[in-house]
Structures are given as C-alpha cells and as structure tokens.
C-alpha cells in the first residue's frame, strides 16, 4: 500500500503551516497589544495616577483618581441593575420556561439586546434618564452599563443552571421540597460557582465600554460625590485624553489604558481559570 502522493503531502504540510501562521498572527496581535501597553503604560504610571485629580491643561502631573473611583461606582450600580434582572431571567429560562412562546420571546429579546450596538444603548438611556433628569449623571451611566450587562448575565445563568444534573432536582423534589425551594436551596447553590464567574466576565466586558457613557455619565475633572453629577470613568478619560493635542495627556491616556486593560484581562483570566474545563462558552 502506498501513502498519498508527494504533491498531496506537500499541500497537506503547506496548509498546516499557512493556517498555523494565521493562528500565530492573531495571537501575536494580543502580545503586541499587551507589550505595547505595558511598555508605554507602566512608564507613565505612578502613584499620583491613583491619588490625584486630573491636572488642568498646561500643568504637568495629576492623576485619574476620580475616573478610577467613577468607573468602580458605575460598575457597582450597573451590577445592581444587570445582575438581578439577568440572574432571575436566567432562572426563569432554565427552570420554568424551557419551552413555550413566552420563554422563546425572552430568549429572542435577550439575544437582540446582546446585539444592540453600545452607542445605541447610550442614546436610549439619554432619552430615558438624562432628559427627564435634565443633566448628565453617574446614575445614567450606571443604568446604561447595567442594561448592557443583562444579556450575558441571563445566558450564563441559564447555561450553568442547565448544567446542574436533573437527578439533583428530582432528589430534592422526592424529599418533598417545593419547586421554589428546590431551586433556591439545591439548584442555584450547585451552579453558583459558574454564575459568579459569568458575572465577572460580564463586568469585565462593560468595564471597558466607552460609547454609552459619552452621553450618559459624560465626564468630570473633579470628584463627583453621589450619583447625580457627571462622572468620570477610565474609558471616557482614555478617549478624551488620547484625542487631545497635549503630550502630557497622551502619557496619562497610556497609563489609564494600561490600568484598564490590566483590570479587564486579570478578571478574564481569573474567571476562565475558575470555570476551568467546564463546557461553558462565554456568549459573544
């Protein structure tokens, strides 16, 4: 018996090489981004970045402490909106609405919402929150990010609940627990690990969102206590500082980019390590 002809073997090896190079190219881009931000960002990063307010134009120094705090505050508010809706919506889909038109509609709109460009969410929140309030605010920014969190929270909750073996539910029911009690005390705790990591990935995703904040939270060069004033955030600061014509601001933008990317990637790596080899795939 003869093997494949020499040409066929050459094509085989050649294509393995070509496709391998494609994969390498994509991965190289990641390392380039990481390396470049590390190089440029770490150089520009100093303690003042985390402790001081932005310096006025023309003055050197200053930091982005208000943007770091603003980002954290808006993410906290976003979680208050996105997590409950996403979690209970996911529980509905996994435990009550596996079939039926209403469940289909919920799934359909969740996917729809996931596909909405973030800038459109910004416009929506502008119309619903900013216009009635009469001014930009951290509250509006948090709402926008919260809406963006919903679809992924729903889908990851549903997926992890479905991965809980049916026998656990049957066991609990057989012992006389009601369906509600079964879900609350058996099914959800079994899937908790996954649900939390799903929410971490969700937070990491909206942490870098800029477009929906442009007309909701806007930005602020000062501290904004509470949620009723315009609020600075890291992504918006990166945008403003990067397109500004000042050398000094560019350095600050690199520092902020480095901090944001480090936070987002660290959260991602941590979450994926916790999920490990489970079959869950993050929703795109």
């Amino acid at each position: 018996m003869r093997g494949p002809s020499i040409t066929r073997r050459l094509v085989n090896g050649g294509m393995a090489l070509v496709t391998g190079l494609c994969a390498l190219l994509v991965v190289a881009v990641l390392f380039f981004i990481l390396g470049y931000l590390l190089w440029n960002g770490a150089r520009s990063l100093n303690w003042a970045f985390f402790t001081q307010l932005p310096a006025p134009v023309g003055e050197t120094g200053g930091g982005m402490a208000n943007a770091v705090v603003g980002s954290v505050k808006m993410l906290a508010l976003a979680s208050l909106i996105g997590v409950p809706i996403g979690f209970f919506g996911g529980v509905y889909l996994a435990e009550f609405g596996r079939t039926g038109w209403f469940a289909w509609l919920v799934r359909y709109t969740t996917d729809l919402l996931n596909g909405v460009p973030s800038i459109v969410i910004g416009i929506f929140v502008y119309a619903m929150v900013v216009l009635p309030m009469g001014h930009f605010s951290g509250f509006a920014g948090g709402v926008a990010l919260g809406i963006m969190m919903i679809p992924i929270a729903v889908r990851s909750t549903e997926e992890f609940l479905r991965a809980v073996p049916e026998s656990l539910r049957e066991g609990a029911m057989a012992l006389g627990a009601s369906k509600g009690k079964t879900i609350a005390t058996v099914v959800v705790p079994a899937a908790m690990h996954g649900i939390i990591t799903g929410i971490m990935l969700d937070l990491a995703r909206v942490a870098g969102e800029t477009a929906p904040l442009l007309f909701t939270a806007l930005s602020n060069q000062f501290w904004s206590p509470g949620y009723s004033q315009p609020m600075a955030s890291l992504p918006v600061m990166i945008f403003t500082y990067a397109i500004a014509p000042y050398e000094d601001w560019h350095r600050q933008a690199w520092a902020a980019g480095f901090v944001l990317l480090a936070a987002v990637l660290a959260t991602n790596i941590l979450a994926r390590l916790i999920i490990g080899r489970s079959r869950y795939k993050p929703v795109h």
Partner: protein, 330 residues
C-alpha cells in the same frame, strides 16, 4: 399575563402534599408560585426594556423621519447649521470600513480556526484559543488608543508609500494620506473582529461529527483534504454565520473607529481619504446637537444602526444554530 402554572409544574402531579391543595396564597407562601412570579417578572422586564429601546428610538426620530423619509439615505449633504441632513457619507463609510475589515480578517480568522480545530495538537489548540478569547476582551477604546499612536504612524510611514508606489494609479489607493482614513479604521476593525470569527468558527467546526472525519481519513484523504473537502462544507453555514456576527460587530463599533477614521462627512473614492461612520457621527455630535431636528436626525441614524445590526445578528445566529443543531448540540 396568565397566572396558570407552566408546563413543567403542571406535569408533576401534585401529590398529597398539603401545600399543593391549599390554594394560590398558601402555595405562594410555600415558595412555588413566588419563585415563578419573581422570575417571570424579571424575565418580562427584559422584553420591556428591549421594546422600550425600540420605541424610544422610533419616537425620538420622528421629526427627521417625517422631514426626510427615505431621502435621508441618499442625501450627501450633512450641514446642521443649514438644517440639511443627508446620511449617505456615513452609510458609505460604515459599509466601506466594515467591508475592508471583513476582507482582512476573514481569511486570517478562518485559517486560524481551521488550524485550531483540525490541525493543531489539542493542548496547543486550547492554549491558543484561550489567548484569542482574551483578545476579544480588550476594550475598544484601547484599540483606538493603539490605532492613533501606533497604527496610523505605521501606515503613514510604510504601508501607504508602498501602496501608492505600486498601485497608486488605482483610484482606491490614490491621493494624499493624512493617516486617519477608511483604511486605518478597516485595519483596526479587522483586528477587533478576528477573535469572534476564530472562536465561533472553531466551535462550529468542532461540532462536525467525528464520523465525517473518520470516513474521509479511512478513504485515504490527508488531514488537509479531510478538512477542506469534508469538514468545511459540512460546517459551511455556521462559518458564514460567524462572519455575519463579526460583521454586526464591525457595523456598530464606535470608539476605535471614531478615533482613527478622521470624522469628515464626505464620500471619497480613495481608501486613504478620511471619512465618517454612522456610529462615529453619533458619538461625536450627539452632545453638541442643539436643535430638535439635529437630535432627531442623529437618533434616526441610531435607529437604522439598531435595525441593521439586529437583522445581521439574527441571520448570524440562525446560521450558527442550524449547523450545530444538526448534530444535536443546540
């Protein structure tokens, strides 16, 4: 909304459990109805939010829709001061940058996906996939930052002179290059969407049944022949779906494009001319829009962007679903 119990509950015959016979309120307290009601209210709120979103965009674009109608999309003139709004330059820019992004990212993305799912050793594939999924997590404003300070100078110094020298006679490569252009935006978008193409195509390819591969290999096909003639045709629709999904991302992407496209509302034949996209014009002008017609025109653009991305997304998911479902993976 009906308060009847859902299928899953009804199918379990309520036995002699006292709570089950004690009527609605008792059951509510016992947790069954309560859990059901709470979750269904939250689930319904998702539908409500999405419906509100659509309604709000529709309502808040009324002035522009009535004033311009379909002519909005054929008008080339965008002059807020004169009250004249034509969206063609933005539509054109959005389409050109997305098309450029696809041209650059699809071959590389599919190549990488084939390598990861069919040709690479398992461990290497897992590690590379992990890294590529991290790439998908990089925020778009970071891409914009690198676009402004790294890509644009690079294109200006090396790529454009080369293209101008060799292919400069073609109108699409002609003209002066300031760095910010359709081309720069296309490159940034290509890098941004490639991880989506890779990871979704890879998933679709992995859903192809092993028997298909075994049969081809048993007939004496090489790895590549098996991949190209058997696996790829089998996964064809899903692969197209992954490309559509990437396209939807590219159409709606805002920050990175805004930072490198130049933001000039014109239609230029050259890919090296500055342009504008729908998302970018909304990002740049929305907070400056003062009169109502201006605001409504921008929201009209948002409405169009919403509808287009929704349609492309739905088509993508349908395609991906039909491929993976044939195998019972859905």
């Amino acid at each position: 909304m009906s308060t009847a119990l859902p299928e899953t509950l009804r199918s379990v015959p309520p036995p002699a459990r006292p709570a089950a016979r004690a009527g609605f309120w008792k059951r509510l307290v016992s947790g069954d109805q309560a859990a059901y009601l709470v979750t269904i209210v939250f689930a319904a709120s998702i539908i409500l939010i999405t419906a509100l979103l659509f309604w709000e965009l529709f309502r808040s674009s009324a002035l522009a829709r009535h004033e311009f109608g379909w002519k909005f999309f054929t008008g080339r003139d965008w002059d807020p001061v004169a009250g004249s709004f034509g969206a063609l330059p933005f539509v054109y820019g959005t389409l050109v940058t997305s098309a450029l992004a696809l041209v650059m990212s699809v071959p590389v993305g599919l190549g990488a996906a084939l390598f990861l799912s069919e040709l690479a050793p398992r461990r290497m594939s897992d590690a590379l996939t992990f890294l590529i999924e991290l790439l998908a997590a990089v925020p778009s404003v970071i891409y914009g930052l690198l676009g402004i300070f790294v890509l644009v100078p690079l294109l200006k110094q090396y790529v454009h002179p080369l293209l101008a020298k060799t292919l400069g006679s073609l109108p699409i490569f002609s003209g002066t290059f300031y760095g910010v252009s359709y081309f720069s935006a296309g490159v940034v978008l290509a890098v941004m969407i490639v991880p989506f193409i890779v990871s979704i195509s890879r998933e679709v390819l992995l859903a192809v049944p092993a028997e298909q591969r075994e049969a081809a290999l048993a007939l004496g096909a090489t790895r590549w022949e098996c991949t190209w003639r058997v696996v790829v045709p089998f996964a064809g629709r899903g692969i197209v779906g992954s490309i559509f999904l990437a396209l939807a991302r590219a159409l709606g992407e805002t920050m990175a494009v805004t930072m490198v496209i130049g933001n000039v509302p014109q239609i230029a034949a050259s890919l090296f001319a500055p342009g504008y996209t729908i998302a970018a014009v909304i990002a740049n002008e929305f907070t400056e829009a003062t009169d109502d017609l201006y605001v409504h025109a921008l929201i009209y653009l948002a409405l169009v962007l919403f509808l287009v991305t929704i349609i492309v997304n739905a088509a993508a998911r349908l395609l991906v679903l039909t491929t993976s479902r044939r195998e019972g993976h859905a």
